[in-house]
Symmetry: C2
Subunit: 365 residues, 2 copies
């Protein structure tokens, strides 16, 4: 569907990355191992990814001159977050290939368009309705029922921009609190578990999925990921097929994450797609230590036009996020045999801030 | 024996590294994963390690002002090569802790002092003699016999600064060709195999050795490393004990490599220590992919004052150096399942230049 220019970099080539957080930082480290350079573009002078590149651009995403200079310095451009402003992406795409194609962001930046896209592929999603007013919310609830979840259509993450609606809640108040003009309401799903599939797609169209990961959130923030997920093989295969189908339908190049719910059903558990993240994803961090090739390396290979690796899982992996003051415990984690410690180089350990993660890999399952 | 100041860094602390080659680069990448920053000091503007740090000092090792500024920027200093000039090390050590202690370099920079040190620990070495003239060479050969190996006492690596002497060679010519005033002559050892042990020692004195590695050189340059080495368990244990004994005797902090020969004997094979490298070592590159903690991370942990990891080998590993034009074959290596590709970000693939390496890890032995 999308026919962008797709370059093949040589060792020594430079990948431009929009965003300077931990995902950008880990992309840089993966690129460095392959002999590729990165340049980071981020408005935040304290970006942890700045530490690991020779050249960084600290500027606003609306700074056209900075974007032009950045584009001139690099061979291909990618991003570590999905909320790249459309104007930014367009300015860059006029000058250098942007991978994954920035037009994909139009779909996945908007929860309503994303739901429609997924449902249009014949993939199960939660029931949902478009809502643009308190009156619309009342009408949607009449159809969807309660409890339900309301989410802003754009810019939500880690539980921000969403709320659960229960019987008896004041719907006018809920609408006012959300502070948006466009939202979607979804059925509140009583899931058995949350899983995700990290899929990589190369310029040649080949898709490689990592083993399905099971995720546990605390306070809407990912706390633990376990791979492989404790689900039947057939369901795991279906989850991977679903992620592959989405990657192919988007003509995607790079790594994406598809979050799904496993819900109980009369004839066994079924899957509902919850969300697509068009980037490397926290639930794939275990691949750094638990697989022969990581999600970060797969993404770098894809955007560089290099062949994807064939991921081989090294055992069963448990990834624990170090959130806020959790990171102060790094000294203990350093002494746990077989455990890899990752610290992101951020400032103070504020509550809810992802400061690092640890991965324990054990045996071969 | 050596009581240097030994700091404990916090995440966000900065390690200064002398030398900007691939070893420095891989040290930087290991430090970054742990949330530690690095600053590289190297006289070579094309240093591959410059690519992965925000702050680099490109200056000569004799540039006192540059050294002072560098020391002021960092919390602790280490190095990626053993030929750090003594004056450089002294200037830095007066300002910041230098680990491993720079006085260790006086021993291991000089093949004669190194041999005496190892022999003094009751560890087997090849027979050797100090030589300072063509006449001295003749006298040494009378004692040692032929064939023999002559080596400059200082600054040799990858077969440079050494020659084999066979019966009938013109000893005056050999001496003139070596172009040195101080050399040692050693028995030419008919070894069964070459092995090495990578040992790490923490500030707390704890030593962790990786499994013994077997090394194969082509044209005096390491071509393949295999871990574990195909030697009896008792011999492997002895090799590790030998490396630990050396690390303890040096009061070493950081990673060192001990190269040994396995030589046939009437009552089974025995070990002779060939050389100590006071740094991370090419024969330990397999640990990046084949062990739960790499030699680079162990070195960073040690110089940061952090506890060492307990290395768990992930299977049998084969490391292949990509020398010169070997690196042009990276595209094929990228497609070999279970193989990790490392490219160092150097310039042209000159003959003999180490451009990268690949590691294949298979099963659990």
């Amino acid at each position: 569907m999308i026919g962008s220019r797709r370059p093949t970099l040589k060792p020594g080539g430079t990948i431009g990355i929009l965003g300077g957080g931990q995902l950008g930082r880990m992309l840089v480290l993966a690129a460095a191992r392959l002999g590729l350079k990165c340049q980071i573009f981020s408005p935040d002078p304290d970006s942890p990814a700045f530490d690991v590149v020779q050249n960084a651009t600290c500027a606003e995403y609306a700074d056209v001159e900075a974007l032009e200079l950045f584009a001139a310095d690099v061979d291909v451009i990618t991003y570590e977050f999905e909320n790249v402003p459309a104007a930014t992406a367009m300015i860059l795409a006029a000058r250098r290939p942007v991978l994954p194609d920035h037009r994909i962001l139009e779909t996945v930046q908007d929860r309503l368009l994303e739901k429609k896209f997924v449902a249009g592929l014949g993939i199960g999603t939660t029931a949902y309705a478009d809502v643009a007013s308190a009156q619309g919310l009342r009408e949607a609830i009449d159809v969807i029922g309660l409890p339900a979840v309301i989410k802003t259509r754009r810019f939500g993450y880690d539980g921000k921009g969403q709320a659960i609606i229960r019987a008896g809640d004041d719907l006018d108040q809920v609408w006012d609190d959300l502070g948006t003009k466009s939202a979607i309401v979804e059925t509140f799903v009583s899931f058995e578990r949350e899983i995700s599939v990290i899929a990589a797609r190369g310029v040649d169209g080949r898709v490689e999925c990592f083993d399905v990961t099971e995720n546990e959130h605390h306070d809407h923030i990912l706390k633990y990921s376990r791979a492989p997920a404790a689900i039947p093989d057939a369901l795991a295969a279906q989850a991977r097929d679903t992620a592959e189908k989405i990657a192919v339908a988007l003509d995607y190049v790079g790594v994406l994450a598809v979050e799904m719910f496993v819900v109980p059903g009369a004839s066994g558990p079924t899957l509902l797609v919850n969300e697509i993240a068009p980037r490397v994803h926290n639930s794939g961090h275990w691949t750094l230590d638990g697989a022969s090739v990581s999600q970060f390396e797969q993404h770098i290979r894809a955007v560089a036009g290099w062949p994807l690796g064939k991921p081989v899982r090294r055992g069963s992996a448990v990834m624990t996020n170090l959130i806020g003051k959790d990171v102060l415990d790094y000294g203990r984690w350093l002494t746990v045999p077989g455990t890899a410690v990752h610290i992101y180089g951020k400032g103070p350990p504020l509550p809810g801030r992802k400061m690092g993660h640890v991965t324990e890999v054990k045996g071969r399952d």
